[in-house]
């Protein structure tokens, strides 16, 4: 087989869901849309945990908001039979991620935990990954951001403060995952137990809509949650193999 044939074969394999099949932990999140109230506690928690900057009104007007997690709202029907549906949208940590194929410098790659990891200091800011992402969950730092003193005292030392020119996105609070794994290793080289690691969004959600854990552990909360008949994935037909499973909202019949 020529080099080109081998290359194409490997590339096709990479782009097919199922390429990554061995995970140390397969971090998965379920978001129950029947519980989500749209209160946005998760959005603020993420902002606090991950050193997300305030970009200001002008930048948001240009579409440059900087929130890794957003609540999307979709109206259904017409007044008075009108409904509003919320869905939290964040990086789906796709196992067959389009963004990973886009980056010319491999600044985004798939790690051993099934996460789509972003390497800030490798990123050269082509923004191709944001274009490839069908969920539009990648955010670019158009400027060096500024915190009015002393708001910078609040910055989390476990998380990088990103500079101008790099892409960023939800990391499933990889700093908490890393710390959880470290602590488990120190505690007799055991595996991380279910519930020990909570991303900021899951921890804060008042309605307990977000469940996080290792789907390879059949006893975990998230594995049981994924088994629900209501489970689905967003834009599933694009074959991105997301690691976030949504649970359909129940549209109860009136009466």
């Amino acid at each position: 087989m020529s080099f080109l044939d081998r290359f194409n074969e490997n590339w096709a394999a990479l782009r097919k869901p199922g390429y990554y099949d061995k995970f140390d932990y397969a971090w998965t999140m379920t978001i129950d849309l029947d519980r989500c109230t749209g209160c946005e506690a998760c959005v603020t928690a993420c902002q606090a945990e991950n050193n997300l900057p305030i970009v200001g009104e002008e930048e948001i007007a240009k579409g440059r908001e900087m929130q890794w997690l957003r609540i999307e709202r979709y109206w259904e029907g017409e007044y008075p039979d009108i409904k509003l549906r919320f869905i939290p949208m964040l990086c789906q940590q796709c196992d067959s991620a389009p963004c990973e194929t886009a980056c010319p410098v491999s600044a985004t790659y798939h790690n051993q935990d099934g996460l789509n990891a972003q390497v800030y200091n490798r990123c050269i800011g082509t923004r191709a990954c944001a274009v490839y992402c069908p969920y539009e969950v990648r955010y670019f730092n158009y400027y060096n951001h500024h915190w009015d003193t002393p708001l910078d005292q609040q910055l989390n030392p476990d998380v990088t403060v990103r500079e101008k020119g790099v892409m960023e996105k939800c990391t499933f609070c990889i700093q908490r995952i890393r710390q959880g794994k470290d602590l488990a290793k120190d505690d007799g080289r055991r595996r991380v137990r279910d519930g020990e690691i909570q991303p900021a969004c899951a921890q804060s959600c008042p309605a307990e809509a977000i469940v996080f854990g290792d789907r390879q552990d059949p006893d975990s909360h998230v594995a049981q949650s994924m088994a629900s008949p209501r489970a689905y994935k967003v834009l599933e037909d694009l074959n991105t193999a997301p690691s976030i499973v949504y649970l359909k909202k129940v549209a109860a019949d009136a009466g």
Binding site: D32, T37, C39, Y74, L151, K248
Partner: protein
Amino acid sequence: MSNIERREFLKLIGAGSVGVGAGFALGEANKSPVEFLVPYPIPPEEFSPGIATLYNSVCTMCQAGCGITVRTREGRAKKIEGNPLHPVNQGRLCALGQAGLQALYNPDRITAPLLQIGDRGSDAFVETTWGEGIARLTNQLGQLDDRSGVVLLSEGVNGHLAGLFELLMTELGSDRLLHYDFEYPEALHAANERLFGEQQLPYYDLENSTYLLSFGADFLGNWLSPVHYGLGFGKSRQDGAQRGHYVQIEPRMSLSGAAADEWLPAAPGTEGILALGIARELVAKKYSGADKAAWARALESYTLDYVAAATDVAADTVNRLAHEFMAADAALAIGGGAASGSSNGVDALIAVNALNYLVGNIGKSGGVVFNPPRAFGATSKTQRAGYQQMAELADSAMAGEIDVLIINSTNPVFTLPPTARFEEAMGKIPLIVSLSSFMDETTALADVVLPSHTYLESWGDHTPDPGVAFPVAAISQPVVAPLYNTRSTGDIMLSIAQQLGFSSALPWKDMETYLQDRWRSLYAKGAAGAESFESFWQSVLQSGVWGENSKRDSGPARLVTGAINKIAVAPPEHAGASDEFPFVLHPYPLNSIRDGRGANLPWLQELPDPMTSIVYGSWVEINPVTATELGVADGDVVSVESPGGTLTAPIFIYQAIRPDVIAIPIGQGHSEYGRYAKDRGVNPLQILAPQEEPVTGAVALTGTRVKLVPTGRRVELVKTGGVSRELGRGIVQTTGGSHENADHSAKLKSIPITVEPA
């Protein structure tokens, strides 16, 4: 410098204590001398560099009193989480609670005592010392022979600080001690008192209800205790054998309305009439209590046809709701929002209470459980002020009866409508002292500012309001050393008492000592086997909560004698003739910024409104049909005119609002309050017309009519959301439901949230 010297040094400044639990308060006299610079390779005792120290405390960003655990690194607060052990929030926290860090580290905090040297309100403040600032106040108090004209106006305080206020005011000989919060559920308190004779708000057991009928209550957004109800909502949806069903009745879809299975836009202010229509059906078809005849008489005129005509809800629907309500295993009715804000607000909430009584859920799981008296807090010496009490205070001031006004962290100049004339009345008060941490509209009018710590720097305690059906309390402790030259409110009170010679009545040297003294009585009640008060205190600090885990047995539901005969809901009245002012104005608190308190927190300004995704401003919500009739589109600036005033704001076409209603969010429109809040948006409270709710005397929040006049100008609405229709993309999927829980088979065991190990 040797280790021994460092430890001595740390002891000298009174820092550090056993393990978790002690924030260290550096008083002015004990500021660390600059020459003792000790490098971090010799680490301090209080923390290990690189490892987080967690402190439990209480969030006081609203009245709910969620327990929080604050993660600090190297003495700086980094993240606020919910305390998993606190029964109100059980480890969860809302956006406003998360943003408390930005209150602590806000660039616009008042950093030292201030004196106004120019005209009032001229922003000519100069820094002064604590000695001078307190002396200004105590000298004036000392000169008064009769101190009955001294007013202490505080935000709602649910802890022993309230007792400290009461002690001081008693010594001063004044009974003008008020707690004022815009969000105080005055109408709900009045309704509970009038029907059930209860002084406390009850515990609404949403978690176990299977049918929730909400008359305008935005319980997921800002009604009473949103985190607790959010928890309950989630559990009632998917953790029970039966999925809880939820109906919301309001003229404009709130955040809670979006979560409802059924949303009914009844005519504004008629929610109480709808409730009585349902009640009439309940009495006719199901209720069999001894007072049935009295109920039937009282509800006679609320026939389905009458109710349908009054509320704009079809008679069949009213009938269906009544039958669903009475057939449910655990039905619960709650009220708030437009229902409580109308001219018939108290009567409407009494009607909602009546539904709970008639369906027999008082004291039951999934129903209304009366709360025991709170473990501690304000007594009858404190007046919970609503609009009427504030207007009366303003009248007293105008009559020259008020000599000194001490304000603690409340902002009536912003939240009271101009009909109260509060700002004008302040002009007649000789001395105004503010204890706020921020230069808000009310504090800007002060003569002396004695800035208090934020809650993350203070000792304090708190009992949740409303309670959770059993006594619960939590201690709020400093999680960082005070950033600036501020003092805790309690310490300021004690200094004032000391200066005025009240040390025998208020003998404590600081707030921490006072709290410990008061908590000894809780300890004496038999505190769970703790060997000494010190170990009890440490255990409460370490867990973050104290409680007596026993649900109150409230006995059979009792009604106030004669209350049934008074049950009635009159049609709502609105200020302004409907031909001149065609729309009813529906102001509503923004989810995160609430009554304006969160407007100085940039995270909350940048947080897209869940319903509209708009950030950083105000807008006017109108129905699409109304927009077409007026010929306006998104961004068109309109003038909103009421009999009480005018404001201008851009239009936003809102899909779920009645055509005869317009809605404007509350919270923006500050003229002070820091760089993030100032000169941004509009405050709809300023155009409320004097339509009264007769029981409380309040200006009805939703009792004003307005007209819209397009100005011809356009602005761009700044929002993060794009197209708000799915257009067939199938992003949010729903499944047709029955009332059975689809995944009852996958019954999930509850996993406690683990806060990271210290």
